[in-house]
Symmetry: C2
Subunit: 290 residues, 2 copies
């Protein structure tokens, strides 16, 4: 069990470990909880995830922090300090989601389901934006593992519609985080089939990406564009999506509108070229098998 102290631990490591344990104990008490949340969420201790997950009552405490805020997110009165406090708890959950030892249990217990209500909030204020962004961070941490287990969980738990909403409504960073999750789903063959097999689902994705392109006319952003182009490119690996995109890809991506934006980013430039090449009629698709 990696949460056990190693015999070759230096005195400094031992002290660090003791400090983490002390903070985890302090999480249990309402009076010391907020400071402990803040301190632990800054912590980079490698075994923090199993220490959190395996200590008695800690997951329950973190979920309590999440659930406590539910009544407040239905009204526009969420304050910065309230949002920050949940975000500390979310950061700790992200740590649990990222660690290979705790991730399977994190999924099995369906912890992400407790976070989804944050993704469907619509208030524009900064505390809400911060809450959505941090929540997407937890899901991104799961998605970037590329595990089939994770992918199946994300599909089953219907995360895609949440991503699409946040890709349209969100701030720049929220857009990037949400698009990045969609990208991870499209990177997997089953995820790509899931999106492309159903006409409504594909349309919603295509419409959302199209809206993002149009939005960039007024608010150009290379990082957003990069993820959007990658998503389109991944979609062209599916024969049906490729045919559909021949018709519905925004002209803005073909007519050189974003040439100056991508000129110094070789990667995005190449993806855009590949995307347009894949969409030429009768072109052999150089990326996919279908």
């Amino acid at each position: 069990m990696s949460a056990e102290p190693s015999p070759v631990m230096s005195p400094q490591q031992q002290a660090e470990r003791e400090k983490v344990y002390q903070l985890i104990i302090e999480l249990a008490y309402p009076a010391t909880r907020e400071t402990a949340l803040l301190e632990l969420s800054k912590n980079t201790y490698a075994d923090l995830a199993p220490m959190l997950w395996k200590s008695v009552g800690t997951t329950c405490t973190l979920l309590q922090e999440i659930v406590n805020i539910y009544p407040i997110i239905t009204t526009p009165v969420l304050k910065a300090n309230q949002s920050n406090r949940v975000c500390y708890a979310l950061t700790l959950l992200q740590c649990v989601a990222s660690h290979p030892e705790t991730r399977p249990a994190f999924l099995r217990d369906q912890i992400p389901m407790y976070l989804y209500p944050f993704l469907s909030t619509t208030f524009k204020s900064r505390p809400f934006e911060q809450l959505r962004l941090t929540t997407l961070g937890v899901i991104n941490a799961l998605a970037e593992t590329g595990d089939t287990e994770v992918l199946i969980f994300l599909i089953w738990s219907e995360v895609v519609p949440h991503c699409l909403t946040n890709m349209v409504r969100g701030s720049k960073l929220t857009k990037i985080a949400a698009t990045s999750i969609l990208e991870k789903i499209l990177l997997d063959e089953m995820g790509l089939t899931y999106i492309c097999e159903n006409h409504d689902r594909f349309s919603q994705v295509a419409i959302t990406l199209g809206k993002m392109v149009i939005h960039m006319l007024k608010f150009p952003c290379l990082r957003v564009l990069k993820h959007v182009v990658r998503c389109y490119l991944l979609l062209t690996e599916n024969a049906r999506a490729r045919s559909a995109l021949r018709v519905c890809l925004p002209d803005l991506l073909r007519d050189g509108t974003f040439t100056s934006l991508v000129q110094h980013d070789t990667c995005t430039k190449q993806w855009l070229q590949m995307l347009l090449k894949n969409l030429q009629t009768n072109a052999v698709n150089p990326m996919g098998s279908s």
Copy 2:
């Protein structure tokens, strides 16, 4: 709400309905429960599913019947009357799973998860076989809807390994039920991708189907063969699976061993021909897009 009595109900229908309600009430009481389970499980009343699902405590009662048997299925002492009683409860749950009005809630509440322990039992006696067969019946009732929702649930809840075990170990009817569920998964594009995307998963499916073919040398059965051939045929719609099957399809399916078995079943005969044609090198696949 279709569970409300319709104003044009005949006196006979009204009486039938009252009888069903009376039986549902009797389900709640331990003394009358077993008879009520038996009577209701024979019932073909169209609105039985919403009546069961929406009546207070009934789902809980049915789950109690399921869970009560858990301690017994780990030992070989399950008796016919015990197995029958759970099977009545399973038949009522199958009714809930089949009805379009109750199916979404049945999935959302993850009721099938309570049944999976029955599928991993290994005792060969008839009460156990009956239990596995009836459980597969509930899952089959879900699978044959072809809903993406259902498919995602079945994939997420890892039903495939259970099917594979029962395809090898089960009696004839159990083999048919388990193979039929796999077939429904393969009929869906995402299901097919799910099976074929992962090498281990595809191998397990191919090995299992291969074992079934060999088993039929000694115990030929047209109905089993029909489902096995269909599964192979569906797999050939995937380019990667097609290549693999060129190598690993059992020779018994090519060398005419089953010619006399399939001679009077046009459907199976055609599927077998299509399967072999799809596996000819350079053959154009007439069924799939990939």
